[in-house]
């Protein structure tokens, strides 16, 4: 039980923040013989960073996320975690949380039941899991809704439940596939801020797929711009992690300048493809 409520394992001295958590080397993914989603993708995810994968639709950024999660196997190249080659899904994977574009909740289960799911599948009973579940719900501000059913929640609240479910196993790596794309702007801004809070509190690594320049600049410490056909990294931008991310930042000239720079990189990537 204690392992569930412990904070995530402190970063060992040998692996400082910024050390690579996983590396993709020459990764390609083909669907059938026709569609090449990714080709020669080289990238790394660094410990503790907030990495955004930015690109137009169909550039393979979601495919890259699924490969990292182990939901699909690369057709060429390899993915290594901490220098160790990854084998088949889940067994050798470090703990990974995944948030889909849709909330993807089970309509027949309460908020509590939905967040319990990953622990339940790992064999943890309701009672044993309760502290971890309530902690995850508190993180996303939904502890008052534990007995509600998904249909009773708004779109933003459903997405919060989805995030709580991804966090309940205390993953070292949180993968998010355009999680806020379907939400209205006001809700998205709120969730952006809350997600940054969660990231700071949990000290985890986040890989965030988006097609919004503004969202990626606001959230990330690093942005990889993807180009399409075949998908690969076209540009990389770093954003000072020390920069506070708040409403002042959202309206600052620095933010505007970073957005312009990112937009230019994105436009260049799209013209190249």
């Amino acid at each position: 039980m204690t392992t569930l409520i412990d904070p995530p394992a402190p970063v060992p001295a040998a692996e400082p923040p910024g050390a690579p958590l996983l590396t993709l080397a020459g990764v390609g993914k083909r669907f059938g013989n026709q569609v090449t989603a990714l080709e020669g993708l080289d990238m790394e995810v660094r410990r503790g960073e907030f990495l955004s994968l930015l690109g137009p639709s169909g550039c393979g950024k979601s495919t890259a996320l699924r490969l990292i999660a182990g939901l699909a196997e690369p057709t060429s190249g390899h993915i290594a975690f901490n220098g160790e080659r990854a084998g088949k899904a889940s067994s050798t994977h470090p703990s990974v949380g995944f948030v889909f574009q849709e909330p993807t909740l089970m309509p027949w289960a309460s908020v509590f039941g939905n967040v319990h799911l990953p622990l339940k599948l790992a064999g943890t009973s309701r009672r044993e899991a309760e502290p971890a579940i309530m902690e995850a719900l508190e993180l996303v501000g939904l502890d008052g809704f534990r007995d509600a059913y998904p249909r009773e929640l708004s779109g933003g609240m459903k997405m919060r439940v989805s995030i709580a479910r991804a966090l309940v196993t205390k993953p070292r790596l949180l993968l998010m596939d355009e999680p806020f794309a379907a939400l209205d702007e006001i809700t998205r801004f709120k969730l952006n801020n809350d997600l940054l809070d969660v990231w700071r509190q949990l000290n985890c690594t986040i890989v965030f797929v988006t097609h919004s320049v503004f969202e990626s600049v606001y959230l990330s410490t690093r942005i990889l711009v993807f180009r399409a056909r075949p998908g690969r990294v076209a540009a990389e931008l770093e954003i000072d992690p020390a920069q506070p991310r708040d409403e002042a930042f959202r309206t600052s000239p620095e933010y505007a300048a970073l957005c312009r720079q990112t937009s230019t990189a994105l436009a260049a990537a799209m013209n190249a493809g």
Partner: protein, 268 residues
């Protein structure tokens, strides 16, 4: 705005009074036709006459109702268990689905009334009637449950994979709950069809059978030109159908009311 108007209708007593009034008018019209034309009961009995017959012949008719109801419910239970079990088998191995589904379809599209006489040759009357009711009730449950088991949300399936769920866990926690509303929909259709199957079986068995179900009473009354009793038996068959449908709807509502769209009030 349509919603407020619909909402008002859903909650107002008119929701119940209107259909009852229409039904009452139909019965009144029936009564008037009989009275004004002075029709004899062996051509068309009036509603009161039918009611009288129902009360006078209640011991025979209620006994028959019980026979038909029991056949229907046993067939429905067997169809529910068999249909769901086969659907699970289909879901676990596509090759079984490819091999067996055509046979299920052949069984479904061949008119039952054409199969019934064959059943009566090879099986005892009771078993033949039960088989008739089972055949027609089986298919909607099988096809609906199969559809439900194949309707699992792809992202949820991925989530289960990511969490290292076993096949049994995926079945129990993901596929079965997803399939439940579909299964219950199939069950409601099957309830009505099982009654049809039982009636068809009884009619095919006809006077040859010792069966004493409601349909048998109808055939028997027809031979005796006891038209009021035919109507009374018909009324009981309708009531049995309504009862089965209402019962299954209640089961469905009880199981789905917390989460499924079909069981939710529209007003909120």
């Amino acid at each position: 705005m349509l919603a407020p108007a619909t909402h008002r209708l859903e909650t107002s007593p008119l929701r119940w009074l209107l259909p009852l009034a229409v039904l009452g008018l139909v019965v009144l019209g029936w009564d008037l036709v009989v009275r004004l034309n002075d029709l004899p009961p062996y051509i068309l009995p009036g509603p009161l006459r039918v009611l009288d017959t129902l009360i006078a012949d209640r011991s025979v008719l209620l006994g028959s109702l019980m026979v038909t109801l029991r056949t229907t419910l046993v067939a429905l239970a067997l169809a529910a268990v068999g249909g769901a079990a086969l659907a699970l088998l289909f879901a676990s191995a596509r090759i079984v689905e490819f091999s067996l589904f055509p046979i299920a379809i052949i069984l479904q599209v061949t008119p039952l009334i054409a199969i019934a006489p064959l059943m009566l040759i090879y099986l005892s009357t009771d078993a033949a009637v039960l088989t008739c009711a089972w055949i027609v009730a089986f298919f909607p449950i099988l096809s609906n449950t199969t559809l439900g088991l194949n309707s699992v949300d792809a992202n949820l399936r991925d989530l289960f994979r990511l969490s290292g769920a076993s096949r049994l866990q995926t079945l129990r926690l993901l596929q079965l709950p997803t399939a439940l509303p579909y299964f219950l929909g199939g069950l409601r259709i099957a309830g009505g069809l099982a009654l049809v199957g039982a009636v068809v079986g009884e009619i095919a068995a006809g006077s040859a059978g010792q069966g004493s179900g409601l349909a048998f009473r109808i055939v028997e009354s027809a031979y005796r030109l006891n038209i009021p009793r035919m109507f009374a038996a018909l009324l009981l068959i309708s009531l049995a159908g309504i009862l089965i449908y209402a019962g299954l709807s209640l089961v469905s509502w009880l199981l789905l009311r917390r989460w499924h769209e079909s069981a939710l009030g529209r007003g909120n």
